[in-house]
Subunit: 212 residues, 2 copies
DNA sequence: TAACTTTTGTGTACACTTTCACAAAAATAG
DNA sequence: CTATTTTTGTGAAAGTGTACACAAAAGTTA
């Protein structure tokens, strides 16, 4: 689709810029320079301009960027100019926290369906309005029918690869994984890992060595 | 303590190697080459050797690495040869999930104290055996007394910086932050961000552009 | 219209990370 | 004891991302 390789960090910074721009818009700021934006989100101004340059020219020399315009451009670039339905697999402790999190809506995401291999009262209660709970055996059918492309995996690590294989078969293209295992997926499917164990251990290293 | 600059990615890979080594030990594997370990955890063998080389020589040429020894060496290097007490701030949806997570123990971490500005029955019930719940106003006193160095922040984003300032004053040196804000901390304090909004948006970009 | 100011967009240099490739070391076989 | 095999540890090359620095563009002032 695009001719060259855009680094993944660039994309995550775009997301960061987007958040800053939303804040600026709420504050009533209409125009911002890369220098000011950089200060606000802790990124080098040249880096911001380089990141944007992957996608085109969005600023006005001598002026800066129009907050509203840049925000809309970034949303379009990232595919965030529409709502995305998300599937959640695993309505355990973590899954329930995710279901009750209101912040996703603000980003344009909606967990519209949840799956678990156990369906009990506790889990039914955890599922909010506008989200349906199904038994894990229904995964492929439901996801396929709803054409959902993004899923969150919050099952025990021993089940994660099995679940992911099923998700991929169902047409899922992006997976946010909380289980502490490296998952294998075919080309064309993106996985991002949230690994709290590793995060805590990295912190420990730096705290322990008392440097920096 | 050590002369150099070790990249943060190296540290997170060490943590990954550690996890693989634990699995290998359970499987009864006694010796492993960088090639095999690399295949197991999806890292280039030369990378593994380079990562280890920051800290010394751990292998035997022509043989490989003794699983048990390397595991112990890595634990020592990362400061994981002892238990770490962790403080949790914010016993909301996410905080409760973290409190009930059994996986931290396996890594040698223990959430031994939790704080919230609201203390009610629901929150009291969420706190397991071996963990104490205090009002947020007690934070500095309790953390100082217990000499806790690592904290997890799971409060609303509007409170996060305030909480972090208090944590730093209490002697906390490492912070795992779930609130969607860039935190400012003095030198000597390490912060790692878990930002689910950004993670989902990055996924969306790749899914949306249908490339990789 | 011309001089001046501001800030972008980008070529280039720099820094950091990963991978390659091979000598050195250790074990094993003859 | 020497040759052979294996696999580490590491210098150098390749690759990738970041930051600098400045010409080009747009606006502003006179
Ligand atoms: N809870 C946390 O704070 C936390 C922190 C870090 C990592 N994690 C990881 O997140 C994952 C979930 O953690 P948790 O604490 O919610 O665990 P949990 O045991 O409370 O919940 C897991 C849920 O997944 C369901 N499940 C299991 N296999 C399934 C399958 N094949 N299909 C559908 N549903 C299935 C279970 O019925 C259960 O409801 C684990 O991999 C864990 O390591 C959790
Ligand atoms: N729940 C999720 O799945 C999820 C996902 C992504 C990010 N987050 C982020 O994690 C944070 C917590 O999310 P949540 O869903 O648990 O929110 P929540 O509102 O359920 O819980 C927040 C808790 O923090 C407490 N709190 C607020 N200010 C405090 C203070 N100054 N000192 C001590 N305690 C205080 C509140 O009383 C409440 O119990 C938020 O910043 C949120 O953006 C949560």
């Amino acid at each position: 689709m695009r001719k060259w390789k855009i680094p993944e960090v660039t994309i995550s910074r775009l997301s960061l810029y987007l958040r800053c721009l939303s804040e600026l818009e709420e504050e009533g700021v209409e125009v911002i320079s890369s220098a000011e934006l950089g200060k606000k989100c802790g990124i080098n101004p040249a880096q911001i301009r380089k990141d944007l340059a992957y996608f085109g020219e969005f600023g006005t020399r001598g002026v800066g960027y129009y907050v509203k315009d840049l925000k809309e451009d970034l949303k379009r670039i990232m595919g965030l100019d529409r709502e995305w339905e998300v599937a959640l697999v695993g309505v355990g402790n973590l899954g329930r926290a995710l279901l009750s999190y209101q912040g996703f809506k603000r980003h344009g995401f909606k967990i519209s369906v949840a799956f678990d291999k156990v369906i009990d009262e506790e889990r039914k209660k955890a599922v909010p309005e506008g989200c349906e709970l199904y038994h894990a055996s229904m995964m492929e059918e439901v996801i396929r029918k709803k054409k959902i492309k993004i899923a969150i995996v919050a099952v025990h690590f021993s089940e994660a690869q099995r679940v992911v294989d099923a998700l991929v078969k169902s047409g899922i293209k992006g997976i946010l994984n909380f289980a502490p295992v490296r998952l294998s997926v075919p080309k064309g499917v993106v996985v991002r890992h949230i690994d709290l164990g590793i995060e805590l251990e990295v912190l420990t290293f730096f705290v322990n060595t008392k440097m920096y």
